[in-house]
Subunit: 771 residues, 2 copies
């Protein structure tokens, strides 16, 4: 097919070295006249070219007669043939290759290559369709998956207790019949979730929720562990379970007294009496204290009258209310003898045994949502609904037989917060479910990235996504953050379970709020990252990541909106700060001065500002110290800002609001330090050396990555020098690769049943996956 | 109800000033023994208290006998009565109030208040249930909504052309019957989307896509403007429209020649011939060059044989393929006479007129997705499917009557990228749809925040969400970013439309890639922020934000994955950089030295490092200069890193990959500078002075907010001093309030039909909304 003239030219040893250059020059795009000019100049300067070669080169370089596709192919073929004889070292750059193909000095070609701007082009492109793979991988090496720990030992560190309850949950999840079919019509899906909840209940999950009544367990630990594990499955079921057993059942258990326990708890535990938790109102989401629904005691009939006085007082978003709940715990302003005693909880039947609304109760359906469409969120209106006085859940506030209000807690606001304290278990559970959901997303994305290939050197298998640094940057810090969230949730649960009845619950509430914000924000962030890292596959419902994202998205809002909870953390932290001064004036001032001195030393110590050895950057002293320093500086600065505002006459609420963005930054810094400490405690508790080492590395990554994310603050406050910021970034990259090599090991240790990873992409080419 | 003794005590002028303090102390929580001790100490130190008062105070402070709820109420009531006589200035703090109620010096109570840690408590809490609102708002003032421009004039600046096409789209959207019902079963929804597309088509939208054939328009501008406007509606319809008219029809229009235009374009424009764009394969998403499907020319029958050689070669994710497409543009490796000529496009009938798969074609359904479930994404397998030679879309590569391959573009890779260039229009459209979707989300969230109330001072209406600085921080920068994205998309569209046929398209491709990444990332980010800012209401499908988020989520992935496109931007930017050196050695070096000198001056000039006046921070010179400096520094540093790797023998691809995270940071910096420039051009083009001023402010906010987000980089590179970083943050806060006051005006200027804001929360208490 080639003309004899051209064919001969291809074998001319003078022209041969130019062929790869010409091929790349033309194939790279149209040659510009300037480029041709440059090339012709070099040709003139090459005294070793004979006249025939010069003529041929000029023809090949005619911008008005570009080579045909066949001609390009022929140059390529000739190049391949001649280059086959070259050593690897002679093929590393186009100039070197041309030099090696010539009898002349390689340097002669370097300037030609440079003039054409071809230095950058891959020589490998010349061997594109050259034939079969040589078995070698494309691209640079990535950290191999080589977990340096026994996954079972890791599991023991992550799940040190309540294995029986977890096993019940895992066995349930391992049955593919227990997965929801998202393509089923809306109504069917909601019924199916109730059926699944009944199956779980029949296996004893419900009974675990009420230790001392329906279980012999010491506390709610087993229930909470089962809940956490069920977060690997469909979140509709998890939320339905949380609403019925946790919120509704929990309100009867915690806010009720023996008469309520005797009358209802067994039926709640068996799901015979499905219920809902009617707290939120249309006009009152976060501000529960401002609820409008009234519960007025009528001494004439010894009844309580529950009433919705306005449209903004309708109960809204109530899970289980649209279809299934028969009873509601209604939060309302209790009015006794004309006096309002604040928000109390009253049990109200909202559906009869046939499922019809009871008298005076109107029910509505919130309708389609972004996710969790298997949960029937509804609305409730009460029109002077009468219930017996006994329906008041009266642990913290009761109506005496004489018709008077009585409470062991005199302060209305204190009583209110004590009742709200029952939400703590719910917050811990939501956080644990979030973390489990994100573990599933990460496991699927990490497995996909380990086998999915995209792009690479011609003639070799394409590169795995895992080989891309950007892919690892996206996912590995999320894994470390997920582990941090795991231990933060575990600590919050432990604090909740260890709480003394009637003791000061503020610390538990603060920590639970921090864990809830951290865990749910983590789920939103990490599942979004997983979705994007898996491309279109992450968008298919069958691969689970998409549904997990949209189902868990509301977790940052319900059970306490994250922005509101962060302010709770901030207020608690500011109170601590204030108390530090107050407790003992002298001692406080002394301590303050000592702290200041310590800080000052730390800030101005050039070693700490400049030090950037790996040993230093990974030391607990540095990482924890930096997180603590940021926290205490922000607390002090927020306190100072609020004080200067109140001093000039502003009320505290306005002063607090005026610096809201600072307050939130301070709360986040506090939260990250609390989470870091919880993670560090978890690391210390691990018994196995290798497990401890792997967790320790993940802890380093988590801490340094958070510092890196806020490096502007450390630089702005002159705590780091620039070089230290750079060193931290490099160290984070190294840690990503180190922790990354354990990534699949961690996923295995999570013990997610294969059925929950039932995403096709999690099982792509299993034989092919990187080991 | 009170005992006479207590009743008398309440009226004791000596005790009266202690009542508010006691109330707050007990209501705040249980008093600790330490606190009681401190208080008793003060009492002993108050010589003016008589014995009776001391005894009463001791009783009230008995930690073992806390006050009853009734007692607390009585203290509160007594406080209210006596405080009613006080002037406002005497009520600002609890200590001042106690002082004013006493005959003694106010200072006497300050230490009591301090000892109890009550300084912070709001005096307003004492007047909590004190009665009706006094009409004043709770909380600090927020920027009022007071658009300082005429919304119509703003609209003219945002939409300077193609109003006719936009009006057709708006009229369509204004009909509530054209909204999708998301609760309908899956299958029904997909049919409904096709019906809606037919309605749109009958109104002439399809014809606009093919200027010169089915429209008299000069170019695709009107079609693209209609597409942008339709982004206010349901995205399923938008995507279905993009797939059929844009991708499928566009491939015939751009890659085909007259014979194809004559045979198909009219039927495509009328939707008589629904089609799909079969490019992506299961194993080849981003790496289109590596597609496996083959199209082999058979000279015996003069046909092309289209074949799927392996499972990874099946066509995947193909919109319209699962149900409705009758024809597919199939991208496959064209083989002529045993030689492969790279990827080409071939038309293949995949369904007959009755909708059954044609011979050799197997079709599948991708199934349920995170969103866009009204679009039927499918899979296609070809088993040696034969089509006439004429079905090759042969603008850039043809098979001659003699059976030889011919192309006006000799280089295979150049040809490939020319064909891919037809994707540019699609990228611009996806970006425009993203920006429109996010405008809807922002309009709904901003309107909700303007009326929704949550928390506030007792006795006053609750505060509006808009009054919370954190709420404004969440949404207003997103509005500014949305405007930036709007103008970036407009510029990309203009560049695409102004492109010379056959001219150098690299700049257009780079800019379109940047606009696509920026616009789609913006949609993901801003819709997530809107969802969270609207709490539970943002989660209800009826309020649109949730569905807009899940439907648009895949926009960052399709039509070019954002991470891949960012690398395209990076490569183009690096080529520019290289060309700068190459064009003219001397000139280049000179320019480089000048730049360096300029930079050096800038970096070390203490005025620029320290300057922090509002005038300076809002100057175009500073903002644009900072963005440009960051970009050029990163380009230089990436180039240096790549070069040092290639010098030590690494091939360019590996070198590029090794610094991938740096490359992406550089690409983002380039993108943000490009977007900033496009926004600035848009500002300059606005004719109305007030419009220009408002846009200018939004531009300042966008630029400074991006600098703030990356302030660590500027500090690390010693470009800013710390004080400047702080000043930038303060300036961003001020700009948020200034731009915020225009927020509802911008939303009005977007011209979103009310039916598209059909979210109940967008119309909450309209009379109540802040003006």
């Amino acid at each position: 097919m080639l003309s004899p003239m051209t064919d001969a030219a291809l074998q001319d040893p003078q022209l041969r070295p130019f062929l790869p250059i010409l091929y790349l020059a033309w194939a790279d795009g149209d040659l510009t006249r300037e480029e041709v000019g440059a090339l012709q100049q070099r040709i003139v300067e090459s005294p070793w070219l004979d006249a025939k070669a010069r003529t041929q080169l000029a023809a090949w370089l005619d911008v008005d007669a570009p080579p045909s596709p066949q001609q390009l192919q022929s140059w390529l073929a000739a190049t391949r043939t001649s280059a086959a004889t070259l050593a690897e070292s002679e093929r590393h750059s186009i100039a070197a290759m041309a030099g090696a193909l010539s009898t002349q000095d390689a340097a002669a070609f370097a300037s030609v290559v440079e003039a054409l701007g071809l230095e950058g082009l891959s020589v490998a492109a010349l061997f594109s369709a050259a034939g079969a793979s040589d078995g070698a991988e494309s691209g640079p090496p990535a950290p191999a998956f080589d977990a340096r720990f026994d996954p079972d030992a890791m599991r023991a560190a992550l799940e040190p207790e309540w294995m029986e309850a977890r096993t019940i949950a895992r066995t349930f999840l391992a049955d593919p019949a227990h997965r929801l079919d998202r393509t089923r019509p809306y109504g069917e899906r909601r019924e199916r979730v109730l059926e699944l909840l009944q199956i779980l209940t029949d296996r004893g999950i419900g009974a675990m929720a009420y230790p001392g009544i329906t279980s012999e367990d010491e506390n709610m630990g087993p229930f909470m562990a089962a809940f956490e594990t069920l977060g690997y499955g469909d979140l509709d079921l998890l939320v339905k379970m949380g609403v019925h057993f946790g919120l509704f059942g929990g309100s009867v258990f915690f806010l009720g007294t023996k008469k309520h326990h005797d009358a209802y708890v067994r039926d709640i535990a068996s799901l015979k009496l499905p219920g809902c938790f009617a707290m939120t109102e249309l006009g009152h989401g976060s501000n529960v204290m401002g609820l409008e629904t009234t519960a007025t005691y009528d001494p004439e009939t010894d009844e309580i009258v529950v009433h919705t006085p306005s449209e903004s007082a309708r109960k809204e978003w109530i899970g289980n209310a649209a279809l299934h709940a028969k009873m509601a715990t209604v939060f309302a302003q209790l009015v006794v003898n004309g006096e309002t005693h604040g928000v109390h909880a009253i049990l109200v039947r909202i559906r009869d045994d046939e499922g019809n609304p009871t008298e005076g109760v109107r029910l509505g359906d919130c309708g389609y949502k972004l996710g969790l469409n298997g949960v029937d969120n509804g609305r409730i209106w009460f029109d002077h609904v009468r219930v017996p006085r006994d329906n008041l859940l009266d642990r913290y506030g009761s109506i005496t037989d004489e018709g008077a209000y009585a409470s062991p807690i005199p302060s209305q606001s204190r009583r209110f917060f004590t009742m709200l304290g029952t939400l703590v278990a719910g917050r811990v559970c939501v956080a644990s479910g979030s973390v489990s959901a994100s573990k599933v997303g990460l496991a699927i994305a990490l497995r996909y990235g380990a086998s999915r290939r995209q792009f690479g050197e011609p003639g070799k298998p394409e590169m795995r996504l895992w080989q891309y640094p950007a892919h690892r940057r996206r996912l590995v810090p999320m894994l470390a953050q997920g582990l941090a969230a795991h231990f933060a949730v575990a600590k919050a649960r432990r604090m909740f379970l260890d709480q003394e009845p009637g003791g000061d619950s503020r610390e538990v509430e603060m920590f639970a709020a921090a864990a809830k914000v951290f865990g749910t924000d983590h789920a939103t962030m990490s599942l979004q990252a997983c979705r994007e890292a898996c491309g279109g596959q992450g968008y298919l419902a069958a691969n689970r990541i998409g549904p997990l994202k949209s189902d868990s998205d509301v977790f940052t809002t319900f059970e306490g909106d994250n922005t509101v909870l962060l302010q709770l953390v901030a207020k608690a932290r500011l109170s601590d700060f204030k108390r530090q001064f107050r407790d003992s004036q002298v001692l406080g001032v002394l301590r303050f001065i000592t702290d200041k001195a310590g800080r000052h030393w730390n800030q101005s110590n050039p070693i700490a500002r400049r030090l950037r050895s790996e040993e230093h950057l990974r030391s607990r002293e540095f990482v924890r110290g930096a997180l603590e320093l940021r926290e205490s500086s922000l607390v002090e600065s927020v306190a100072r800002r609020i004080q200067s505002r109140t001093k000039s006459g502003m009320n505290v609420a306005d002063a607090f609001l005026g610096v809201q963005n600072h307050v939130l930054a301070m709360a986040r810094a506090t939260m990250e330090r609390l989470v870091f400490d919880a993670f560090a405690d978890g690391v210390s508790a691990a018994e196995d050396t290798q497990v401890r080492a792997a967790l320790d590395q993940a802890l380093d990554l988590f801490g340094l990555w958070r510092i890196e994310a806020d490096v502007g603050w450390f630089l702005e406050n002159d705590i780091f020098e620039s070089a230290k910021a750079t060193a931290i970034r490099d160290e984070v990259d190294e840690l990503i690769d180190e922790v990354g090599s354990n990534a699949l090991g961690f996923c295995e240790a999570f013990g997610i049943p294969d059925e929950c990873l039932a995403a096709p992409i999690a099982f792509l080419d299993p034989g092919e996956r990187l080991k």
